[in-house]
């Protein structure tokens, strides 16, 4: 499972995407928990959202291997 990273998320991980092969999160919540455990700096952010197929996804949304999944740190456009 591939997860796209942007902004400060990219800086925290040091890469523009994450690859999950062994432990694969099944929901948005599991993904958030997994990355926050692996990279504690995610816990310091003002907010953390996840997008599934280019839409903001709530914690209970299931993740599938073919979904386009992205970590959305606090946005700051404009």
């Amino acid at each position: 499972m591939k997860v796209l990273l942007f902004g400060i998320a990219k800086d925290i991980v040091g890469s523009s995407q994450l690859q999950f092969s062994e432990v694969v999160p099944k929901t948005v919540l599991e993904l958030k928990q997994l990355i926050s455990k692996t990279y504690p700096k995610f816990g310091e952010l003002s907010s953390l959202a996840v997008a599934v197929n280019s839409e903001y996804a709530k914690d209970d949304v299931p993740l599938n291997r073919n979904d386009e999944i992205a970590i959305i740190p606090p946005v700051s456009g404009g």
């Binding site: 796209l4 942007f6 952010l45 003002s46 959305i72 740190p73 946005v75 700051s76 456009g77 404009g78």
Partner: protein, 140 residues
């Protein structure tokens, strides 16, 4: 209704064309907001800003905002443009605008467009100072 809609993520924003794009025979009012790079943030001198977008999703979110605004305020024409990449002081980074029969609608819509864009559109801004860089709004 004319219903002309321009939603774009671009490298360089050209503000000289905005009013021509929003002009139509049914509109008595056109309101446009341009956001630009300020030289100082909390008294610190900004060298440049770097904008990054999750482009596909950003365009979708911009389109949702546009559709809501067109319906709510009966807009004739609408534009949302955001720049990406490095921007220096005074460079325009975002343009939102709307045209409508009367001025109340385009003013309110324009304000809604920029406020909502800043809340929901997945675009990130990094401030580059002389000795550090900061992702804006990332931390509480």
């Amino acid at each position: 209704m004319v219903d002309k809609k321009i939603i774009e993520i671009v490298d360089v924003i050209d503000t000289s064309k905005v009013f021509a794009k929003l002009s139509d025979s049914q509109s008595g009012g056109i309101c446009v907001f341009v956001g630009a790079v300020r030289e100082f943030t909390k008294n610190e001198k900004v060298m440049s800003l770097e904008f990054e977008a999750y482009e596909q999703m950003a365009l979708r979110e911009m389109d949702k905002i546009a559709i809501n605004a067109i319906e709510k305020w009966q807009l004739n024409s609408l534009i949302i443009q955001h720049a990406v990449g490095f921007k220096k002081v005074e460079d325009p980074v975002v343009v939102v605008g709307a045209s409508s029969a009367h001025r109340d609608a385009c003013f309110e819509a324009c304000r809604y467009l920029i406020d909502t864009l800043k809340e929901t559109v997945p675009i990130w801004k990094k401030e580059v100072f002389e000795n550090k860089t900061v992702w804006v709004s990332a931390h509480p």
